[in-house]
């Protein structure tokens, strides 16, 4: 009696049940992990775009003058914008190597995180021509994305407009 073991059938059934449970458990952990990465990626693009757009819009509003001339949008926007900021000096925003650069009086710095890819930065300047009876305004188109597996990627397409505060015909 004391030597009674498992029969083969019992063993197979036990292994089968165990493996089914393990597959379910591992599968749910793996999918939880990838959901978590995706959430993290969304937060990354969101934080970067919030910072970049906020910085640009704040400076463009008080810019005087905006040096970049009118460009025919949406066909031919530019990815470089230069303007004079009353406090910070001459500022240039540009897109280079999928990162956003901000040059202040010639000193270059990158303001986007290397983790994310800036796939599009377009400035659309209008109302900047002399005597066009329009207030200068800059529309910013910004698209960000992250790398990673298809299920974990995140991207965002943003647009905002800043209208120059100083009256300038």
């Amino acid at each position: 009696m004391s030597k009674k073991g498992f029969t083969l059938v019992e063993l197979i059934v036990a292994v089968f049940i165990f493996s089914v449970l393990m597959v379910i458990a591992v599968g749910s952990f793996v999918s939880a992990l990838s959901l978590q990465r995706r959430a993290l990626n969304i937060k990354k693009v969101e934080e970067n775009s919030r910072f970049i757009l906020e910085l640009m819009a704040r400076e463009i509003r008080v810019a005087n003058p905006i040096n970049t001339t009118d460009n025919g949008c949406p066909g031919s926007g530019t990815s470089i914008l230069t303007f004079q900021h009353p406090v910070n000096g001459l500022i240039e925003y540009s897109l280079s190597g999928n990162q956003v650069h901000r040059k202040v009086d010639g000193a270059d710095s990158i303001i986007s995180n290397p983790d994310i890819e800036v796939s599009r930065l377009t400035f659309c300047v209008s109302g900047n021509a002399v005597s066009d009876d329009r207030q200068p305004r800059v529309t910013i188109i910004l698209s960000l994305k992250t790398g990673g597996a298809a299920a974990e990627k995140a991207n965002i397409d943003l647009q905002t407009t800043a209208s120059q505060r100083v009256l300038s015909d």
Binding site: M1, S2, A25, S28, A32, L35, Q36, R38, A39, I42, K43, V45, E46, S49, R50, L53, A57, C73, P74, G75, G77, R120, T122, C124, S126, G127, D133, R134, Q135, R137, T139, I141, S143, A154, I156, D157, L158, Q159, T160, T161, A162, S163, L167, D169
Partner: protein, 197 residues
């Protein structure tokens, strides 16, 4: 060897289930207890198994629902951010339309009649309202003419202010509304425009 020969300490452990298996196997060998009662005492009962599975699965379900909640709120924040920027754009364009009146030599509010409107990024005047989705074109521009519908709608409302006459102050409100799985969402922002340049 039977129950009675255990020390008091062992009995406590037995109660807690620590000695259960080992001692009962021994007990079975020496006391000749029936196989039936041995089995009954030594294994897990169905209730125990159900409770254990219940606890494990509720912990797992809790963890997974927590993670998917974090994903859905991240997605909601993303829509919120797009909407906030579109709202800002609506107000900036309204301001730029007021400023254009200065350039044209018009009086304050000439282009800001009370009512509901939409505006495009390129608008030089307010467009009468139609309940349509903003589109996004292949260059990434949110507009009303080209591209695929987005989930966002934008409405601009121009009103007189309650504090000042219309010749002094106008109120512009912008509303971005969109639909999510959890229900309709709305962002509202307000801009006070004054007869001041």
């Amino acid at each position: 060897m039977n129950y009675m020969s255990y020390s008091i300490n062992d009995k406590k452990k037995l109660k807690k289930g620590l000695l259960k298996k080992k001692n009962y196997v021994l007990g079975a060998q020496f006391c000749g207890c029936s196989l039936r009662s041995q089995t009954k005492l030594a294994g897990f009962t169905l209730i125990e198994v159900i409770v254990a599975i219940g606890i494990i699965s509720s912990v797992t379900v809790g963890a997974i629902s927590g993670i998917s909640l974090s994903l859905s709120s991240a997605a909601r924040i993303k829509n919120n951010l797009i909407a906030a920027n579109l709202a800002q754009e609506g107000l900036e364009i309204t301001r730029s339309i007021r400023d254009r009146d200065w350039h044209l030599g018009n009086s304050f509010g000439a282009s800001l009649a009370n009512g509901i409107y939409i505006v495009d990024w390129s608008s030089q005047s307010l467009i009468s309202f139609s309940d349509t989705f903003l589109k996004i074109d292949s260059n990434g521009f949110y507009n009303y003419a080209l591209g695929q519908d987005t989930i966002f709608k934008r409405k601009i409302t121009i009103e007189n202010s309650s504090q000042n006459p219309a010749t002094v102050e106008k109120t512009a409100k912008v509303e971005i509304s969109w639909q999510e799985k959890s229900g309709p969402k709305l962002i509202q922002a307000e801009l006070r425009l004054f007869n001041w340049r």
